[in-house]
Symmetry: C2
Subunit: 228 residues, 2 copies
Amino acid sequence: MTNKLNSNNLTKSEEDYLKALFQLLIEDNSAKVGNNQLADYLKVSPASTNNMIKKLKAKNYVVSEKYGKLDLTEEGKYIAVRLIRKHRLWETFLCDYLNFTWDEVHDVAEQLEHIKSQKLIDELDRFMDFPKKDPHGELIPNAKGEYSVLPKVTLSSLTEGDLCQLVAVNDGSVQFLKYVSEIGLALSSEIKILEVREFDKSIRIQFNDVIETVTKKFADNVFVKKVV
Amino acid sequence: MTNKLNSNNLTKSEEDYLKALFQLLIEDNSAKVGNNQLADYLKVSPASTNNMIKKLKAKNYVVSEKYGKLDLTEEGKYIAVRLIRKHRLWETFLCDYLNFTWDEVHDVAEQLEHIKSQKLIDELDRFMDFPKKDPHGELIPNAKGEYSVLPKVTLSSLTEGDLCQLVAVNDGSVQFLKYVSEIGLALSSEIKILEVREFDKSIRIQFNDVIETVTKKFADNVFVKKVV
DNA sequence: TTAATTTGTTAGTCATAACTAACTTTTTTA
DNA sequence: TAAAAAAGTTAGTTATGACTAACAAATTAA
């Protein structure tokens, strides 16, 4: 991280790209993140991504070789972590103080994370007494920019008999969030794996005396902490 | 006001122009607001303003004839009032909950007012228990979009012996806000006019046992409610 | 009432950030 | 390993919203 006091001149778009790249690299543990993958994730054309990557390389936030994989510099990571911190603090505020539900917060937080004011976010953090987790169960990076990921696995990676606790869901899609809530799952729900069907990898799970069958795709987007 | 549920597709810039025009028209009670005046206010070139006004006319937010004065349609006013409501609610939140001072809130609120979420602003209003005034003493428009202006006058319009209460300051300039705070003035300060000097219209005032001389320009930017 | 000044408009340019279409390099697979 | 597919790049276009420079209309002042 540079020593110079933060003169964050980045546009909303630049911030979006850096955060997206960070999430693909670090949160999804991808070995290689390419131009088109990033384009897909951000729902823009590969040409747009290519263009932006050039700009971010020139500004020393991204490194990559021609036709090679993308990576973030320390400066790039720092920007991304700060955005994630802002996003998660705002989500927490919306849920805990403004009666937003779990599935409503994403879009608004996506806007709020771009507000530029160091004092605003530090004071919001203090106001909420320094929360550790956001409403989706994700850890909130602290003011120093320290970031860590919960030791979580996808629901789809477990096997019969496993017991786990819901710690997070992939929050990209509003429909998905709604669906998760509707079948009765919530943060910290205890889930037991009853059966994994070989032919389509669908999973029978039990939680709060409810028995449901969920698809592989669903299970890929639900993150849990193994209890047993 | 139109009946259709608000599909606010306006850009940040369009919103800024509508709000600025509203403030020149209604808040400053100007008989005529022209293109260059609006350009000055927004610190952009007259050409930019001319361009934007065309767009806003096409979208039915603004009315004007070529070389004529600018005016807002009901739709335009409604958008502006909602922005002012958002701005003032956020300023109130920043001061009352996040330890911001009077002179720090403007820039951040200027960003926050563009966040698009009806629920966000309604819940923020409820969370603060429906405040009536913002930290500068201005009335906050209610959820129905009802707007009213305090019966206020500038400090410069008073004469010797008058007693008044500070209700607002023109919040466009950070330096000015800082200065007002630094000489010890605050919202609701009782101010007595000791003397108005004819040759330069400077004014000797007394407040909290402090006696100060302020310039005409200063007094033009301080709004008061006459007490006696 | 004409000249000067102010105000408003138009034309053309620039930066940002999206796009499509065409092309090149790399990777996969037959 | 050569052809096909996927991934990445480039060129050129578009929209937004700034800008300057040049010009036209309206207002003010001599």
